[in-house]
Symmetry: D2
Subunit: 310 residues, 4 copies
């Protein structure tokens, strides 16, 4: 049923087919460092459980992974707290692009899921765990370097600083969570860690490599590192499927059929369980805040590989 023997060809086809769409969508402009990115970038990388890597386009150009970092801090927080994490954050889709704070109010400070900002702040609070923010940021960066198997992965200080200056909405969410006693660390510390994790810079190649453990039952197939348990890996994938693309999560499942998480920097990480991790990047966003060309590319890739889980 699969045609993955010719993975490099497929990736090249996807990259070629995307050329006609480059520049579509709107680059995030709330931070100067994001606003000045050339919208015509496109990169794709596929890393398979059986050891192959296929890349095309700007697969080695680092970009700001932004919300994609939430998948990795969720992994860390589950490792730290286990299932009780789900008492502090749900795993249901939020049902509306702007619901973040509305539903937070209705649901008494329990965010709907860990992939919306409010939920990610709770997750970051768990990772922070009473330490100095610098220690948590260092832990997250080290985790990403290990997952990407590349010590070059790092935080962009300009982006982190800009987030801190303009992140009033996240500050609002964090204070709201604190009002419901669903943050245990100081608001400013949680925000500092959060803004830094969002400011991680990675290429498609690094990102796909980093996500590979989610395609392989929680174990990194290249070095047998037990990153998380098989059950947790499945659950993280399930949460990505139902909640990974804000209020277009249903549409991503519908069109692509893979668990995935997008970031406002234009990146998307998708997981083909038992097969591969895929990263795409193109800065122009659609109306739902997801990479317009990135989603198109994954839809094409899923059609060619037949990797849809459905």
């Amino acid at each position: 049923m699969e045609r993955t023997e010719n993975l490099a060809d497929i990736v090249a086809v996807v990259c070629r087919d995307m050329q006609a769409h480059l520049g579509l969508g709107r680059v995030a402009d709330y931070i100067p460092a994001l606003a000045r990115v050339d919208p015509r970038h496109f990169g794709i990388a596929v890393v398979t459980c059986d050891g192959r890597t296929a890349c095309a386009g700007d697969a080695d150009v680092p970009f700001s992974i932004q919300s994609i970092s939430k998948v990795f801090t969720l992994t860390l927080a589950l490792d730290r707290l286990g299932a009780p994490l789900w008492n502090r954050v749900g795993h249901e889709p939020s049902g509306s692009s702007f619901n973040s704070i509305v539903q937070l109010e209705r649901e008494k400070g329990i965010p709907r899921n860990p992939l919306i900002n409010a939920g990610a702040l709770v997750v970051t609070d768990v990772v922070l765990a009473g330490r100095d923010p610098a220690a948590a940021i260092a832990e997250i960066a080290a985790f990403m370097q290990a997952r990407a198997d590349d010590p070059a992965v790092s935080v962009d200080p300009e982006v982190a600083g800009s987030e801190e200056q303009t992140g009033f909405r996240n500050a609002s969410l964090a204070n709201f969570l604190r009002a419901f006693e669903n943050l245990q660390n100081p608001v400013t510390d949680v925000l500092e860690v959060y803004f830094n994790q969002c400011a991680l810079r990675m290429s498609c190649r690094q990102l796909a490599r980093a996500g590979l453990f989610l395609a392989h039952g929680g174990i990194d197939p290249r070095n047998d590192a037990k990153v998380t348990t098989p059950v947790r890996a499945r659950r993280i994938n399930a949460v990505m499927m139902t909640c990974g693309h804000y209020d277009a999560s249903g549409d991503f499942a519908f069109r692509v059929g893979l668990p995935g998480k997008s970031g406002v920097g234009g990146g998307i990480l998708a997981i083909a369980p038992h097969r591969a991790a895929i990263a795409v990047w193109s800065p122009g966003l659609n109306a739902s805040g997801n990479s317009l060309v990135g989603v198109l590319a994954l839809e094409r890739l899923a059609a060619l590989t037949r990797w849809s889980v459905f």
Copy 2:
């Protein structure tokens, strides 16, 4: 990776493990015919793409499939209207148990998805297509008989009648949709067809058999009937995954990892793509309105079969 050679054993284990939970949850009581069902029923049936059937418990006792019918009318409506159906109904999770009419108002009469009541009414309107309600009801019943390969499948007239007498909330939704011109047939006709489709009585064996085409790319593997296209089958599965269990759809994906659709009669249809269709039934509902023991059974089955798509 699979252990499906011993499918009958697995089904028997699941059935045995559920005995301790029988009677948990709350039977739907808004209709007399549903309220008087014995809460201690439990049935399970698995029908595989490669021709096997495994059943246990009350797998041959018919029950009211209720909202599970929405999956089948969606198939019919897609066949009739094609992709333009998605202009009249979305495919995003609704994000809240009580959002049906709230979001309908905010989104100008376009229901979030075809598996909530508002969306299912639009789908039924498409199936009705200007005909006499009796004709549409007959078409739906014939479709279910064909899918189940059993002419005994029929509508329970007592249930249909009760729904009609107490269905003020659905009447409210239907009028609301009409106010936004998203129903084309008379409100009372749409409601009549809808109440009848919900009143279909089927056993687990019949229901699993009927859903098999969704596990096999839209084609019934037992008779090669082309029920729908491969793309539509995948999309229906995707919608079931993200929207099939009201405001517990994320939890079902998280725990079971399969596309599924529940009904207030206590039934659930789940699809293991490329493998099998599964039907479970137990009347007691959890707080989200889904079969409490049914979800447990599917969670157990998915763990034993490793059929989770994640």
Copy 3:
């Protein structure tokens, strides 16, 4: 402090000042009979507690009073049920133009107040009281004739019929209320009475005369008829002040400073307690659904008379 000795002059000044604005706003067009009304109409009538009447413009041209009827059915329902009416409908502003059904859902079928559609349907249900719709319609019409001291007041059958054909949103609300058991009569009967009360045709002169009891402690000063108690008259005025203009009730209080109720036909009834009842009419509506020129006229009148209660 008052200058009401020259009331006729003031009314003439208001009418003259409005000429520059005639035609502004948008005529309600959901019913043909409303849509074809000339938007350049303007009428005003003031009837005082001490026996004077001052009119200007189209004060004798009948128009569809629409939601203004809710004030009068509220009076009837309070007479029938007394304070327990407030268990079935609140007296709080709804806080949003589109909240009708949203808040109804959140508040379990108890409408926020009797001047939004949902609340008015409950009030009509109380007036209907198990009778034939025709009997209730006759009672309401007779009440309006008595209040206006004019047997010519009647229901416009074309408008009533049009409402019935297009009133899907009201049918939705009524079914929703019934689902919460907050309607006791059949939905179709309640709607029939409601559509007929909204279709009452009255001139400004008739309407101001009809509302006079609310300015005089519940007693009609011209014939000493005890229409309602002083406490109820005050309460009806209070509800008009906080809820009478949908989501612009605060703005009406802010600009005019009098209790008032608008109708989508372009009429407004305002009460100056202990002084007068005022009716204005101009068909063009502002964005909140209230008569644009009507509100301007009342703002001007309140400034000239110093009748603001604040």
Copy 4:
């Protein structure tokens, strides 16, 4: 119509009638200094435009005026900015007890009115006007001393400090407003001023005296100070009528019939236009967060004086 010649008698009657209710309701407990107040306090003071003062009970015991301060900062902000203030904050009731942040999101950072917390933060931002927080706090305190004609009015530093430590929800609102660029000063500065204005301590006698200008067209009748214009005084009263008691504003208008503003410390300031300003205080709150006995007392006073504006 009025019986105010015997004002002292009426106030004594109200005070006596309240004795049976003392201790009802729940004292605000989110700050230690509020939580330890004896719930059995009751005070009332009426100051008339024609120079009389009538007091009873604990009319000279200072309490934390909390949200009542919003009426006075609104007066200051209107003086500073004039009508353009209404571009940054509305004057409509919010329609729900918990809507503060929900509606703020829906309405793009424009609070519904200046008497809910979000709106009051915008008002405080206008009063702050780029200055040092200490300067703005001093201005507000001086304004209150002048209005109360008593230099003893001051801020309770313990309460201000406690608010600062526990005010995460207000910090959330302030950051949210800043995200929509509807705060111009630093969030922490606005919060500091806001927490201090809420921590003003005043007695009923001082508070009624301070509000007298609102009953007299914006002019303090005792010293002819032009505090605000007649139009602004009427508008502030109108906003108090429709928005002064959170989601029980309609009920206050219904029962009392006067513009008023409550504070979580148990105080209420009510205005009888052209007649008097009234302050009551009793710490126990009802479910809507307003002084339970305070509302009862005002209802009784309004009945005895016939001061309802309706």
